[in-house]
């Protein structure tokens, strides 16, 4: 039996043969999305309801995590100040790839009511890439649940292995 040589750049070949496996992996990923708690203001209260018994996102496999190392996506909930923006970027950088961000509420979408303030960051997408924007002030837990479902749809349809999205201005 001769030793088989594989293509040096095994990525494409492997992925081609395992495209069905990719679907399986994506299914596993979309149904166990753990989220990093990042409640900054009143949206944080709705974020707690999102994990509570009424909205109950654990039925979608979403579990709150207090550590970025264990989180798959991050929910930025509330007014982001410039001082906090650096911390948000740090937390995002600490999350393992592939990683996602849901921006919850007007404040983290665009600065919202406080966007004319001198210390308020005009949207979390100025700092880290955002996948799903949930409008509202604050959004109801149902709206955020829909945001989670949209994120699941996104994850279902993407190749996960090559996904890399560093924060703006970071070295990676």
């Amino acid at each position: 039996m001769t030793a088989r040589t594989m293509d040096a750049g095994t990525g494409d070949v492997t992925l081609f043969h395992t495209s069905q496996l990719d679907k399986l992996i994506n299914m596993a990923r979309e149904n166990s999305l753990w989220y990093l708690l990042f409640g900054l203001a009143c949206c944080g209260i709705e974020l707690m309801q999102f994990g509570g018994p009424r909205a109950d996102v654990m039925r979608f496999g979403a579990i709150p995590r207090a550590s970025p190392r264990q989180a798959d996506f991050m929910i930025v909930a509330g007014t982001l100040t410039y001082k906090m923006a650096e911390r948000a970027k740090l937390l995002y950088d600490q999350m393992p790839e592939p990683k996602y961000v849901i921006s919850m509420g007007s404040c983290s979408n665009c600065g919202g009511l406080f966007q004319l303030g001198y210390s308020v960051c005009k949207g979390v997408d100025k700092v880290i890439p955002v996948d799903v924007y949930v409008p509202g002030c604050p959004p109801r837990p149902e709206a955020l649940t829909e945001g989670l479902i949209r994120l699941q749809e996104l994850i279902r349809s993407e190749p996960w292995a090559t996904k890399r999205r560093p924060a703006k201005g970071s070295a990676a």
Binding site: Y82, K83, A85, C110, S119, K122, G123, V127
Partner: protein, 190 residues
Amino acid sequence: MTTTEIHDRLKARFGDDVGPLSEPKIDAFAVVTRERIVEVCTFLRDEPGLELDFLEDLTALDWPKNNQIEVVYHLLSYRHRHSIVLKVQLDRAAPSISTVEGVWKTANWFEREVYDLFGVTFAGHPDLRRIMLPDDWIGHPLRKDYQETGGYHGFSNVRENPLVELKRLDDVRRAEAAKAAGGVDGPAKA
């Protein structure tokens, strides 16, 4: 004891260093000279019958036309249920005043806040740093002539008009779609 009576006691002790009591719109206030504020505060805290033991609030006002920054002290006595407001007028170019942190401990953070937002330096303060804004922030935002410096640490402070931005994204998408359609139609058929 009414505010007027407190003011009379203060006037009897400090004379011209304490100004007249203002019209009582909400809280009547007396203007105190900058040099004697610590003495006045210590007196008000310790004098039997006054004992204003609680510094309710310490804040500031910016008056660019008068070229002044006013520091405001709201005092309250829990024991006697009376209160008075003191004001000190400072030069706007280089506002500086002695700290009352030694009189009421709670002044520590109030003074840091006033320093942070108005740029008033409190001489003798044990830890005069910014309290809310980042340490390397430029300027003091509650001054009337404060100008934003354009973002912070590379984070832009400009938000696009959403309608303009959506139109731009639509145009980009349409151009890409046209390009993709052209690409399929052109070389694939030929």
